[in-house]
């Protein structure tokens, strides 16, 4: 768990909550030393934290959601894997070029189920971020994911993906090795895999690089995640000619979970613990485990044919056009 006392890395708008929590800790520490009963004060402060949290988090601007989705303390795929599943064995490599650490995948046990778990993976510090390429995959990452998903389908195992990437990596090697083809192939193949696919947009749903892991039967978005066709900064640079207009672009593109849900792109917005998933990873993981299990219960009742037919229909239904 994150220790609210010792670490920085909080966003401005969370600070009032964090400061109150620090007060609670300080109070408890001083009480420990000299036999004082501070229960009443602590309860009162906790109450204030709750109220303050509700007040702050019920009226977040889209840009604040973007900041939460990119929060340096936000749980990443492996944080969820460790908490949601009973075991996990990572599998590596695309069998073509390399092993991309920006995407992790492997098999996991979830109660009585064996499932394939795949997700983008960011790092926590400079070193791990360089290793994970900030969660921006190369083509080999997508080809590894696809290899694992096809394998799961071959052996009748359902798939869960965690989506959290700024986007597919824009680099020379990525283009040379066919970033576009890797993403396109993923969309093509995922749409027909005859096993249930659950998608959890957990943090940044950055463009094609996110979508490549997101063609599923059920697509869920965590409350403070975002999903967009281009980063707010990229959109601002093109349409406003000014990257600093990113907050405006974030609002205009309607990239929050609530808005994306309204547009019919995701099936459900998953509530996060008060203050965001990073403040209670275990609680978030518990919610997800329940959701994943109940979703598999539903989907496993369908025949493979019905499953892929409804998955196709799910994506055909998305979009708004008018017949003149």
């Amino acid at each position: 768990m994150v220790d609210p006392k010792r670490n920085g890395g909080y966003l401005d708008f969370e600070k009032p909550m964090v400061e109150l929590e620090e007060k609670i800790l300080a109070l408890q520490e001083s009480a420990n030393g000299n036999d004082l009963d501070v229960t009443a004060e602590v309860d009162q402060l906790r109450d204030r934290v709750q109220k303050l949290g509700k007040q702050i988090f019920s009226s977040l601007e889209p840009w604040q959601r973007v900041q939460l989705a990119r929060h340096p303390r936000r749980p990443y795929t492996l944080d969820y894997v460790a908490r949601v599943f009973d075991s996990f064995t990572e599998l590596h490599g695309d069998r073509l070029y390399g092993d991309d650490a920006a995407i992790v995948g492997g098999f996991a046990r979830l109660g009585a189920r064996q499932v394939m778990v795949i997700g983008h993976q960011k790092g926590r510090d400079t070193k791990s971020n360089l290793h994970r390429n900030f969660g921006m995959p190369h083509p080999e990452g997508y080809r590894k994911a696809l290899r694992l998903m096809e394998m799961a389908a071959r052996f009748g195992r359902p798939i869960v993906t965690f989506v959290d990437t700024p986007g597919a990596y824009p680099g020379v090697g990525a283009e040379e090795r066919g970033q576009a083809e890797a993403i396109a192939r993923s969309l093509f193949v995922m749409s027909r895999l005859p096993v249930p696919i659950l998608v959890i947009i957990a943090g940044e749903g950055g463009s094609g690089g996110a979508l490549a892991l997101a063609v599923g039967d059920r697509v869920f978005m965590l409350e403070n995640s975002i999903y967009s066709v281009i980063s707010p900064e990229g959109c601002a640079a093109i349409l406003w000619k000014d990257r600093a207009k990113a907050p405006q672009a974030a609002a205009a593109m309607r990239i929050t979970a609530e808005e994306v849900h309204k547009l019919g792109v995701v099936d459900k917005v998953v509530a996060e613990p008060l203050g965001g998933a990073h403040r209670d990873m275990d609680g978030m993981a518990e919610t997800l485990r329940t959701l994943i299990e109940s979703s598999f219960d539903e989907l496993e009742a369908m025949s493979p044919q019905a499953l892929v037919a409804s998955r196709l229909q799910r994506f055909l239904n998305i979009g708004v056009v008018h017949q003149e």
């Binding site: 597919a168 990596y169 824009p170 680099g171 020379v172 990525a174 283009e175 040379e176 090795r177 066919g178 970033q179 576009a180 083809e181 993403i183 396109a184 192939r185 969309l187 093509f188 193949v189 749409s191 027909r192 463009s207 094609g208 979508l211 490549a212 997101a214 063609v215 999903y227 967009s228 066709v229 281009i230 990229g234 959109c235 093109i238 349409l239 406003w240 672009a249 205009a252 593109m253 309607r254 990239i255 994306v260 547009l263 792109v265 998955r311 196709l312 994506f315 055909l316 998305i318 979009g319 708004v320 056009v321 008018h322 017949q323 003149e324």
Partner: protein
């Protein structure tokens, strides 16, 4: 008479009369045009009879969607489908301009409803379902309308049991429709996966430029992928890549020739050979094709051996 001979005689083909369909930026109205590749001044009328390919250096000038339809299909065989589909601006999007106004302006400027034309047609009698993107309409960007029309054109292929051809030319996804435009990548790719299950071929033709979400979906999914010479084809924009890696990009980066070298496309075609290349591909990929062909013409051109002469 061969198709090329008809073209040279100027029968309903690329004559100056239908230049109205071509955005002014692409084809200046003066008599001479400076080739953007070799810098030579080329006479407009000659350029038109040469399918807007520079005589000197072979540079392929960008042409409008209507021209590809004429270039590819048997005269009179094209029947446009899925007309009247227009964008609804579901996000109520506004940057410096309202998206609604942009749509209106682009419609009146181009005379098109959106950035793709779909239809049924035939190549040497072989029926196909064709989609041609139009760069002049908001940079050929893919929003709900483009995704829907292309998905429907692919479904037409399945329903009519005919091959699908898509000629791409696009800056990528349409930001003004945000997540809905991203989802069109999944929609079109999923439909192509269905087509593939039906054993029907899909030929993807890439023209300058094909980038972003269009490249990362249907454009790169052809059973066979053809590209015009020196077309810009890529996923990420060159400017973004340069900023990210903080270094110069290699020569010819993201050009057709670069993609061919890296194994990402099957062939680079010269515009004058497009129709024959696709006809021959259809005959190879689709066993039913032969039965649709009429009398073989006396001067069937061969599939060009290579374009990298």
């Amino acid at each position: 008479m061969s198709w090329l001979k008809r073209a040279r005689k100027g029968i309903r083909f690329l004559n100056s009369a239908d230049e109205a369909a071509v955005p002014k930026k692409e084809l200046p109205e003066n008599l001479w045009t400076k080739c953007s590749e070799c810098g030579d001044l080329v006479y407009h009328k000659e350029l038109a009879t040469n399918l807007w390919v520079c005589y000197q250096c072979g540079y392929h000038f960008p042409i409008a969607s209507q021209k590809y339809i004429e270039l590819l299909l048997d005269p009179g065989s094209f029947e446009e489908t899925h007309t009247g589909l227009v964008s609804m601006d579901p996000l109520n999007f506004r940057d410096s301009k309202k998206y609604k106004d942009r749509i209106k302006e682009n419609r009146s400027k181009t005379g098109r409803e959106d950035a793709v034309i779909t239809g049924a047609g035939a190549i040497d009698g072989i029926p196909i379902s064709l989609s041609v993107m139009d760069f002049s309409f908001m940079g050929g960007s893919m929003g709900s309308v483009v995704g829907e029309k292309i998905a429907r054109a692919i479904k037409d292929g399945i329903d009519r049991r005919v091959p699908v051809i898509i000629i791409s030319r696009s800056g990528g996804a349409r930001m003004q429709e945000s997540i809905l435009s991203l989802m069109q990548m999944a929609k079109t790719s999923a439909m192509l996966a269905r087509l593939s299950e039906e054993g029907l071929p899909y030929i993807s033709v890439l023209t300058h430029p094909t980038t972003g979400g269009v490249t990362a979906s249907f454009a790169m999914l052809g059973d066979v992928i053809l590209a015009e010479p020196k077309a810009l084809i890529g996923f990420a924009g060159a400017r973004v890549i340069k900023q990210t890696i903080n270094a110069e990009l290699p020569d010819g980066f993201q050009m057709s020739e670069f993609l061919l070298e890296h194994g990402m496309i099957d062939r680079i075609f010269e515009r004058k050979n497009l129709r024959n290349e696709i006809r021959d591909l259809l005959l190879f990929l689709w066993k039913d094709a032969q039965s649709y062909r009429g009398e073989p013409t006396d001067d069937v051109p061969q599939l060009a051996s290579s374009s990298d002469s």
